[in-house]
Symmetry: C2
Subunit: 247 residues, 2 copies
């Protein structure tokens, strides 16, 4: 089990933002919250209220007087800044940072991500205590608040190891892919009725029309249930046509 | 120029959340906001207040009476849901969705991402109007609000085409990488002084010690200015030692 990074908030101002950070953390499996000299003291009722389901993260947050103390036991710490600061320091995307944090954590290193306060961010002295800097890429307009910055950092940490397939189709246990034979029966049924109806006309256009219809049906990646439903629809449409004719 | 996806909010409740969505959008270059029957009417002062620097996105938002109308001119639309719904529908990660949205937009398709309201999300009828479903992967605890869901979707859209290098070191224009010759001069200087000081002892350990010191200095990827600073530090330390001895 890899230990997720600690989140260190340096001199945060509003309790609401501490609560929002805690909630953002918990969404992505982060739990160690460290607070350096929060402006409005600690504990803070507004942090509890904003944390909602993540009150446990707020309740177990640790308080430190100085940034030195808060970082002391960590092996790898990245500072988050909104903009490039013109200091000679390695700048990482959140994705690259998450990759490196995971690699370090897998070796047993204790890691952390440091965030500055809502108004001024981190100063260059704070940044000088960290291994490198994370900057979240944005469009020209950039206005991420503290909770959002924590959210995006947590998301990248989680995403890097998330096993969710990029794309998948959920089927109920009663659904399965049709066999080729079931697909061929659908083709025969549909093409037979279309032939009788006069839709496949003129005769020299029949082969390409049939191929196009089959391609459409393949592309839909039908379940066996959907194949049966389509065949029922064909039966109903043909019957309905006859009924109308008889009327 | 690729057109970014439209963001469609279906029956949003609080103006604050519409404003937060607009702000999240603008961070990542999205500008077309569509509102389907917002509960508290439109325009909404709270949306303006929350949008802050993104009031232009709020001001140009378009109002629709039905979801059908809001989606009518789009070619590809993904619905966002907090949890899997047990419907036979393709489920995409935000990263995969962003990739497909970009590919479609590059072909000139108009794309969109649909979000449900804060309380109930989208119902299965809403989802049946969309091509596929995006689910944001989270830990067991999952509590993303509307603005955060829009933020993460926008982030993935932006990230997929972002040219920011994963890692880079910013140097001031006065800095450059040292030449090999400058590095060799640093090695000679440091190793010479260490030899005189008695640090490189015993003699048979000298070669591996020297290699280890050089490896450290290479790993630091020094700038030419930092090489000069280090040499100044060596001079000062040697001088200081002599001064102490003379006292």
């Amino acid at each position: 089990m890899i230990t997720a990074p600690s989140i260190i908030l340096c001199a945060p101002q509003l309790g609401e933002n501490i609560g929002a950070a805690a909630r953002a953390m918990k969404n992505f499996g982060l739990s160690d919250l460290r607070l350096v000299a929060p402006r409005d003291g600690w504990p803070n009722e507004r942090a509890d209220a904003m944390a909602a389901g993540a009150v446990d993260v707020v309740a177990s947050a640790r308080l430190f007087e100085t940034l030195h103390d808060a970082l002391a036991d960590l092996n790898l710490v990245y500072a988050t800044t909104a903009r490039e600061r013109g200091i000679t320091k390695e700048l990482l995307t959140p994705a690259e940072a998450a990759k490196r944090l995971r690699a370090a954590a897998a070796h047993g290193d204790k890691t952390g991500i440091l965030f500055g306060n809502e108004r001024a961010g981190l100063d260059n002295d704070d940044i000088s205590l960290c291994d490198a800097v994370i900057t979240i890429p944005t469009a020209e307009f950039s206005s991420l608040n503290l909770g959002q910055a924590v959210l995006l950092s947590g998301y990248e940490w989680f995403r890097q190891a998330d096993a969710t397939p990029a794309a998948r189709t959920e089927h109920s246990p009663f659904h399965r892919k049709p066999t080729r034979q079931e697909m061929f029966q659908l083709f025969d049924h549909l093409e037979g009725e279309l032939m009788k109806s006069g839709f496949l006309y003129p005769p020299d256009k029949q082969p390409p029309m049939i191929r196009a219809i089959r391609a459409t049906l393949h592309r839909a990646r039908l379940t066996n249930l959907e194949v049966q439903t389509l065949r029922g629809m064909i039966v109903a449409l043909v019957k309905g046509k006859h009924r109308v004719k008889k009327d």
